[in-house]
């Protein structure tokens, strides 16, 4: 589904990503874990086409998207829930969902998808006329996920979805991610909460200062001594 090969990304003089490769197969949950500044968000932005790598290739669904523009990548079936939710605060919940469906060409089936999203997130239905910026952090996170789902993605990128949420909401978010995956959407998850991420993922990559230092089956990494020491406490 997604294959990232040896990408290098610079921010001006800063060498942020130093040759990272990873793969997400259809139907999987793959997670990238690592500390702050390891380059997780940069990788997400590069995959989505917001930033372009200096070298390396990104293949999505069999097509080279390394230099494809971000909005075209969304049309191809990749959606991202960005770090910090980034909902449109001055727009209503419904309008945020409409923005999520912006790239959709099949207008006919939209209504059914709003219903599906409202079913998954009943709170959003209650609040569909409310401005997104007035909702709580947890509700905004649900909206950010729902918004991304409205584009009917084949691959969903989630960047730190549990950040800043109360523990009970963290559990809820991870359950939702599991459900979305079960319903057939492939998932690439970036998390600081390594324990949670590893427990729902199939494969995992551990990042340190712009490089993959460890990769493998998530269950194995969960029990790996080095990972335990560094990320699971």
């Amino acid at each position: 589904m997604l294959k990232v090969e040896n990408i290098e990304v610079y921010y001006g003089a800063i060498h942020a990503i130093k040759g990272v490769s990873f793969e997400v197969k259809a139907g999987e949950v793959v997670t990238l874990i690592g500390a702050n500044g390891a380059g997780k968000t940069t990788i997400m932005h590069t995959t989505s086409g917001i930033i372009k790598p200096q070298t390396g290739t990104i293949t999505f669904d069999g097509k080279d998207i390394t230099y494809t523009r971000a909005h075209t990548i969304v049309e191809m079936g990749m959606a991202q829930v960005p770090e910090g939710r980034r909902v449109f605060a001055k727009m209503s919940v419904k309008e945020n969902l409409e923005m999520g469906a912006y790239s959709r060409k099949d207008k006919g089936s939209l209504e059914a998808d709003y219903d599906m999203v409202y079913e998954r997130f009943p709170r959003l239905k209650e609040r569909r006329k409310q401005l997104a910026g007035t909702m709580s952090g947890g509700e905004q996170q649900m909206l950010a996920i729902a918004r991304a789902l409205m584009s009917k993605p084949k691959l969903l990128l989630l960047d730190e979805p549990s950040m800043g949420l109360a523990p009970i909401l963290v559990d809820e978010v991870f359950n939702i991610i599991k459900d979305i995956n079960k319903d057939g959407t492939t998932i690439l998850l970036v998390e600081q909460n390594a324990h949670k991420a590893l427990s729902i993922a199939d494969h995992a990559y551990v990042l340190e200062t712009g490089k993959v230092v460890l990769a493998g089956e998530a269950k194995k990494l969960l029990n790996d001594d080095a990972v335990k020491k560094a990320y699971l406490g």
């Binding site: 523009r69 909005h71 980034r86 449109f88 605060a89 001055k90 727009m91 923005m99 912006y102 584009s151």
Partner: protein, 293 residues
């Protein structure tokens, strides 16, 4: 009393024009955080296109307005693509200086092409007539200005609130990167904003030249500046604010002209502006919304 009502009506007429121009300032600022100082010159070009299409193409006045709006919409987009787009990630001051450059460029190009002299605007004779309601006389130009402005404002609100491109504009103005992640073509959306704003300015330009009977290359400067002030007064980036600011400025200016002194009218209008901004620095409609994170 009749004179007062007439002055109010003229104030609304002038305010309509300011509001039309202010909308473009505020929309462009809202989406790219740029004070487009060339915006007043779009008004000037709109007036020229209106004049030229009536005199050279010999088309009806109504059609001339539409043509002028369409041409200016395209020019507005071109200005964005040529002058501002390459500077999208540059410091904001660079784009601002560029805007001043574009403004001077347009003024001087028009001076070279059409001469510096003031041309008389051709107005259909039917528009110069007046109707009387009771003892109050209103010219058709006034009615046309007020009426067209209201139609455009309602249409603009519908576009921004209801259409896909309008929602994309609001999304881009709030969070460009997030909009891009929704599949929005950000550059295209910005171009559309320039096009819409420029079309409104062109309408403002034709109406302005019809009001004052004249067209000249520097005619955009003063109304452009005042419309900018109107946009700031209402709260820059806020569409209803620009509308309100335009009407407020037009009314204040006209009443000052009528009852205080015409040479003091600008000083009074800008003085009131300074006073309002002292107490409401974000403009009348602006507020510091705190977002939850």
């Amino acid at each position: 009393m009749n004179q007062f009502i007439e002055q109010i009506i003229y104030g609304i007429q002038l305010g309509s024009i300011y509001a039309l121009i202010a909308l473009g300032y505020t929309m462009v600022y809202g989406i790219v955080k740029l004070i487009n100082f060339a915006h007043g010159d779009i008004l000037m070009m709109g007036a020229y296109f209106g004049l030229l299409s009536v005199t050279l193409l010999d088309i009806p006045f109504g059609l001339a307005i539409v043509l002028s709006m369409a041409v200016c919409a395209v020019i507005g987009m071109l200005i964005d693509i040529i002058a501002y787009k390459p500077l999208r990630n540059a410091p904001r001051i660079s784009a601002l200086i560029t805007a001043i450059g574009v403004s001077l460029f347009l003024e001087n190009i028009y001076r070279v092409m059409f001469g510096a002299e003031t041309r008389k605007m051709v107005i259909p004779t039917s528009l110069t007539q007046t109707i009387a309601i009771g003892n109050i006389k209103i010219s058709y130009v006034t009615l046309l200005t007020v009426f067209l402005t209201i139609i455009c404002m309602v249409a603009l609100q519908l576009v921004v609130k209801k259409t896909k491109v309008g929602k994309a504009m609001r999304a881009v103005s709030e969070d460009q990167q997030a909009a891009r992640l929704m599949g929005v073509n950000v550059n295209l959306t910005i171009s559309m904003t320039f096009a819409l704003g420029s079309a409104l300015a062109a309408l403002g330009g034709v109406l302005y030249s019809v009001t004052y009977y004249q067209v000249e290359p520097y005619m955009g400067m003063m109304p452009g500046l005042k419309a900018f002030v109107a946009a700031v007064l209402g709260g820059i980036g806020i569409i209803p604010g620009a509308m309100f600011g335009g009407y407020a400025l037009g009314l204040i200016e006209n009443l000052a002209k009528a009852y205080v002194s015409s040479s003091w009218s600008n000083a009074i209008a800008f003085g009131i502006l300074i006073l309002i901004l002292l107490f409401k620095p974000a403009g009348l409609f602006g507020k510091n919304v705190r977002e939850k994170v």
